[in-house]
């Protein structure tokens, strides 16, 4: 992490998860802002000088242009290989990793799955995914609060997913920042759980506006919490009227057939 501002640019580490225990750190060649400005105080007065003439240079450039360009590159990379890439986003603790563990186990005979794990720190999620036997790479964003297209591109080079497979990208648990960053995925899936407030879609509209699917998880806990499923879905559709939604329990298995059917429906048509 950059000591000046805590910026994430140089704090990103990508760790391939091998069967044997040799995590590799990769250094990235990002520029560092320097924090040693040297203001000089002068004891003598300066003559007053007129401001130099200036000119306006028009740029009209989207501030996310660089990310969007890299995202488009990732999208082409996936499409060229017939890979379905899904960006899973949620607040921390909604059960994304549990849903992935279960999904990988249930679909492993059907399609090859690999996972890009995004977290600020630790290899914990990647280790859980690795235990299912699937290929996984962990991206630690350091102080960063989201994955961006460049991080994903680096992760994909390490992950090397096979053609005609599915890549799940488990974004950093955060309902705010990941919404703004296109990674080049084909679909964006927002995972919520019934232990969160039903009003999350209204509180974090950017996330829900860009979603292609809402998965409401932890249905098994519904009897123990005050959560109105219909109200939550109504709020979500207030933000995105056509948003499809599934209610599931990743631990007990409720509703997972619907999730798997949705996934099958997203798979690219294979050449016969």
């Amino acid at each position: 992490m950059c000591a000046t501002c805590g910026c994430a640019g140089d704090g990103v580490t990508i760790v391939a998860m091998h069967d044997h225990d040799h995590p590799h750190d990769h250094d990235h060649d990002h520029p560092h802002p320097h924090d040693h400005a040297h203001p000089h105080d002068h004891a003598h007065p300066h003559p007053v000088v007129a401001d130099p003439p200036t000119a306006v240079v028009t740029l009209e450039q989207d501030l996310l242009a660089k990310n969007d360009l890299l995202a488009a590159r990732n999208r082409g990379w996936f499409e060229g290989r017939g890979i379905l890439a899904l960006n899973l986003m949620s607040s921390p603790g909604s059960g994304k990793t549990s849903l992935l563990e279960r999904t990988i186990r249930d679909l492993s005979a059907e399609v090859e799955v690999s996972v890009v794990e995004g977290d600020q720190e630790t290899l914990l999620d990647a280790e859980r995914i690795r235990a299912t036997g699937c290929r996984v790479v962990q991206i630690n964003t350091g102080s960063g609060c989201h994955l961006d297209a460049e991080m994903l591109a680096s992760g994909l080079r390490t992950l090397a997913p096979p053609s005609q497979s599915v890549v799940f990208i488990e974004n950093v648990g955060n309902l705010v920042c990941p919404a703004l960053f296109d990674l080049g995925e084909q679909r964006r899936v927002v995972v919520m759980s019934v232990t969160e407030g039903a009003d999350k879609p209204l509180k974090y509209p950017h996330m829900f506006r860009t979603a292609d699917l809402l998965v409401l998880n932890k249905l098994d806990l519904l009897p123990y919490v005050d959560f109105d499923v219909e109200q939550c879905l109504a709020y979500a559709r207030q933000i995105r009227p056509e948003l499809p939604a599934l209610t599931v329990s990743a631990t007990r298995g409720d509703g997972l057939d619907g999730w798997y059917d949705w996934l099958r429906g997203q798979l690219p048509q294979r050449d016969v």
């Binding site: 000046t4 320097h34 009209e60 996310l64 660089k66 609060c145 950017h206």
Partner: protein
């Protein structure tokens, strides 16, 4: 704090494309863009330190949110991230307020 990444993009985009001394930068951050102008101002000071942009004035234009109702075709103002038409519909096409761009810079000639 996605504003930090966005401000880094702003600074690198300007430095890559503009030579010489830069006096001011004008960016457009729509009110529905999901980006907080005050955070960008804070990050701009930090991200420009030690660069040619250090000390440059950051001007932020904040266009309001506008949407067209798909039910009644009315154009309506959108104050927050939850578009709602006076006819009661929530099915609106947002046509303004999501801008996020660097508009122009003022350079010494």
């Amino acid at each position: 704090m996605h504003e930090l990444s966005i401000t880094e993009s702003l600074v690198s985009a300007v430095l890559e494309q503009v030579d010489g001394e830069i006096k001011a930068v004008t960016v457009v951050i729509g009110r529905l863009s999901g980006v907080v102008p005050d955070s960008v101002r804070f990050c701009f000071d930090v991200c420009t330190r030690g660069t040619r942009l250090e000390g440059a004035v950051l001007e932020i234009l904040e266009p309001a949110g506008r949407a067209i109702c798909r039910s009644c075709d009315e154009v309506t103002d959108v104050a927050d991230g939850i578009p709602l038409c006076s006819c009661g519909s929530v099915d609106l096409d947002v046509v303004g307020g999501r801008e996020l761009s660097v508009k122009h810079v003022e350079v010494v000639v």
